[in-house]
Symmetry: C2
Subunit: 224 residues, 2 copies
Amino acid sequence: MSVVITEQEREALYKVVHSRRDVRSEFISTPVPQEVLARILNAGHHAPSVGFMQPWDFILVTEPATKAAIKRGFDESNAASAAHFQGEKRAQYQALKLEGIMEAPVGICVTCDRERNGPVVLGRTIKPEMDLYSAVCAVQNMWLAARAENIGLGWVSIIDDEVLRAALHIPDRIDIVAYLCLGYVSEFSEQPDLEKHGWLQRMDINNLIHAERWSEHEKGKDNR
Amino acid sequence: MSVVITEQEREALYKVVHSRRDVRSEFISTPVPQEVLARILNAGHHAPSVGFMQPWDFILVTEPATKAAIKRGFDESNAASAAHFQGEKRAQYQALKLEGIMEAPVGICVTCDRERNGPVVLGRTIKPEMDLYSAVCAVQNMWLAARAENIGLGWVSIIDDEVLRAALHIPDRIDIVAYLCLGYVSEFSEQPDLEKHGWLQRMDINNLIHAERWSEHEKGKDNR
């Protein structure tokens, strides 16, 4: 017999989806209990994966020295990234806090072992990137699970893979998908940080939906 | 004030995560109401996106002729894919039903506009694949939203991008991330199809978790 989701449970799912945030500034030091972390990781492990490949691994980071090495990598990449923006946009970029590496009690590096259960993987034969996408689904499951635990998560993408590889001793054959910061928060913002700070606005969903074939809507602006 | 998720709501999220399936065989013809589809798409639109880029578009497919063109593409790619497997594994592959393109009332092609809100995108400067990963997060949000609506979703990855591009008139500058089949189902399986059919087993999560740095666990077998 199938599991049936009730209307109340459906509303709970939407509540979690719509209150999830990319957290950078609001982490507090309260430790994440082991059983809570285990539930979040287990949600990741129950993401869909191409050919049931389960290509993910989760490296848990808690030591300040490890975090500091990763933070140095972020600082370097972030300074280089700022230089891509011009004038006012650069000043705005530099004023944003984009990570909580040191403050978040737990870091999670999510990787993808592209050789696992292979070499031929059902469903990856035509679209080779599917294994990486499976690992991303695991990230999103964990993000929602964390929010359901009233725990914040931030995906820090401004770190060179080689920094994480060195800090966490990740072999060359393993792809790095994400570095996540995890922890309880002082608050969850009502809006995404970048929307709140006027970086970009939420797009109108009606401009993103197409019937039967692609249609040209007006959207997206030059954001240099 | 932050939105607080109750224990009951947390359990609802986990119920959805753990009962979600990649549906191929169980679609029924009951139409998906417009307001239900709108909620699912809106969950996709509220996925995290790098630099708040919102790079996704959703092309809705309902006409049998469009589905048939996509199905022909699947059949061709699937036959080519079977040839990669040897002996018994090939026979097993050929016996699996891997898509519900014609049966599912709605198809959704999820794309990624890599130029949107660019050319420089906050958070994509170091990891250029982040925009594609954002679109994958939208897929996973829709997958869970669909499950919360007691609607099945299947991600069909055995279709050449060029088949979808031609069938749906998608411009060359737009990347194709996923083709999803959506509809009510006769039942949700207790286990993933590939686990149920003995293709692969669920891995032990303890072999996927590493403390502070990568450690070599025994896992993954040659699956030719």
